[in-house]
Amino acid sequence: MDHRARVYDSILELLPSEENPTPMVRVNRMNPAPEGFTLYAKLEWLNPFGSVKDRAAWALLRDLEESGKLGPGSGRGIVEPTSGNTGISLATLASLRGYPMLAVVPNRVPLEKKVLLKIAGAELEVVNDELCPSPGMGDGSINLAKTYAKAQSERWAMPNQYENEANVRAHLESTGPEIWRQTGGAITHVFLSLGTCGTATGLGRFLKAKKPGVKMVAVQPTEGHDVPGLRNVGQLEVSKLFDPSLIDEILEIDYELAYTRAVELCRTEGLLAGPSSGLIYEGARRVIERDREGVGVMIFPDDVFKYTSNLVKHLPALAQGVEPEG
């Protein structure tokens, strides 16, 4: 593999590693304290299947293969509850490997992502799982996927990104070392969002072992949000990978800002960031205004292309002038 020439024998060789990290790009005009604070966005959408979830999906798939649950002759496919990105990565990897994939998707997921899952080769099962909030175990898509894996275990294996340590390991082995090397150890702040918590737990473990003073800042949307892939603070218990001891701060930010900041990033920095990145940027901005000094890395999970319908819903002005007048 020659990462300088960037010529590859298989798309799998593009999966990220310390030698082939996703790029970090400095934020300039939107940095509120440029004299003391260096702020980078780590562009996870430049992973081969378009999001940070490529890392977890690859680790989860290998975990199932190594345990013998998946593989030639197992006759099994993959079933997974997913708000989109994990599903897209998993479905593409499954197609590459020749496994069927059933994605259990909450209905609030934008149409673009559902269609992408199908393009990548997944079958969809769409669940209305926010009919009425119920305590604890009310997450319909997770429970339906678990039902398939339990009732039809001869047909389906479930990677379970919410519980499987392989999700954490992916970041311990790739994202962490990448950032350490890319910042030359100067990193002081990580800004990210919690969904499955795999990124936060893996990165937190790696970076805090290297440098205990690194601040892990989680930026979460307020309740009632529809920022795909994220959970508000009250929903975090769904993930067994959530380790609060690694998180120094959790900011709760009005979810509408996810959309306005994403568009600002596109128009000001040339970063075509999706809504979760917009939310993470807003959290970083607030912390930088307070801390003023440091080297921060924002984990930007994916780009804006999958979110045009979501953006129009929150920023109706985007839909004006897109039809001929009169």
Partner: protein
């Protein structure tokens, strides 16, 4: 479960496992998510679809006595059987089924405490996609209990006489009129708010994080002390279309043992569409 007023109406997942082969115990799953049953269910359980099977297909009403008799017959149930209901979302629709069965007089109905999610997450419990083998019966209802159902005229009377508790089990946003219905639901109303004098206790408040019902002491604190439900008066529970409120109806009548608890199945989609009714926000 022993300290509930009527502990006999609840069974544990372990109890169900022990009775999987008991011919007098009939299991019925009713879910909000109508795909869940086909993906996998408790071995031997029959699945009912609340959208297509538990309401009148033409006019707005619960299903008729004859329709319930036919459903029970197709599920192989006899009047002397123990019917155990369970479902997703903490037995939300299972409780609705419980109310219907009681309304039409089935004597022994129970809920599986914790519902399908508790069963799903216990390692020693099996799930199967296989349809059960059922020997149909010809079921004849043994009577009925119309006093379990509140109708609009009952609610009107409470508005004049103020002699009953009204418990609104919808979310705080529906209760205060911020929204008319949770997003994406087709059944809605012209106006938002609640019936004057109603207390708001969202239905899911009665459930612990593992999906089982909270203890008697906690339920008494929530409904009687904090919400101010007067246990010496009759009570009417309502929600949007009358299913979430069957869950609270079950809690108030069987777990706390209040007298004269009724479910107003017309609920907000009836009340909030009427002209001239008083509404509080």
């Amino acid at each position: 479960m022993a300290d509930y007023a009527h502990p006999e109406v609840l069974v544990s997942t372990d109890w169900v496992k022990e009775h999987l082969d008991d011919p007098k115990v009939k299991l019925i799953e009713i879910d909000v998510d109508t795909q869940a049953y086909a993906a996998g269910h408790v071995p031997g359980a029959v699945g009912w679809n609340w959208q297509t099977q538990l309401q009148d297909a033409v006019r707005r009403d619960i299903l008729s006595r004859e329709e319930l008799e036919r459903l029970l017959g197709e599920a192989g149930v006899s009047p002397e059987d123990t019917v155990v209901l369970y479902g997703d979302n903490n037995n939300w629709f299972a409780a609705y089924g419980f109310w219907l069965l009681k309304l039409y007089g089935h004597p022994d109905v129970r809920l599986m405490d914790g519902g399908r999610v508790k069963w799903l997450n216990e390692d020693d419990k099996e799930l199967t996609p296989e349809p059960p083998r059922v020997t149909p019966t010809s079921y004849e209802s043994q009577g009925n209990s119309p006093e379990l159902r509140a109708k609009l005229e009952d609610v009107r009377r409470v508005l004049v006489e103020h002699d009953q508790n009204l418990v609104d089990v919808r979310s705080p946003d529906e209760f205060t009129g911020k929204i008319i219905a949770p997003p994406g639901l087709p059944e809605t109303a012209q106006r938002a708010g609640h019936i004057p004098g109603a207390k708001n206790v969202p239905w899911s408040t009665a459930v612990a994080p593992d999906g089982t019902f909270k203890s008697t002491a906690e339920l008494e604190r929530i409904y009687l002390q904090e919400a101010g439900v007067d246990p010496d008066r009759p009570t009417i529970a309502y929600c949007r279309i009358g299913e979430r409120s069957s869950h609270t109806w079950f809690v108030l009548k069987y777990l706390l043992g209040l007298d004269q608890v009724r479910n107003y199945d017309g609920s907000w989609t009836e009340y909030g569409n009427l002209i001239g009714m008083p509404i509080e926000r």
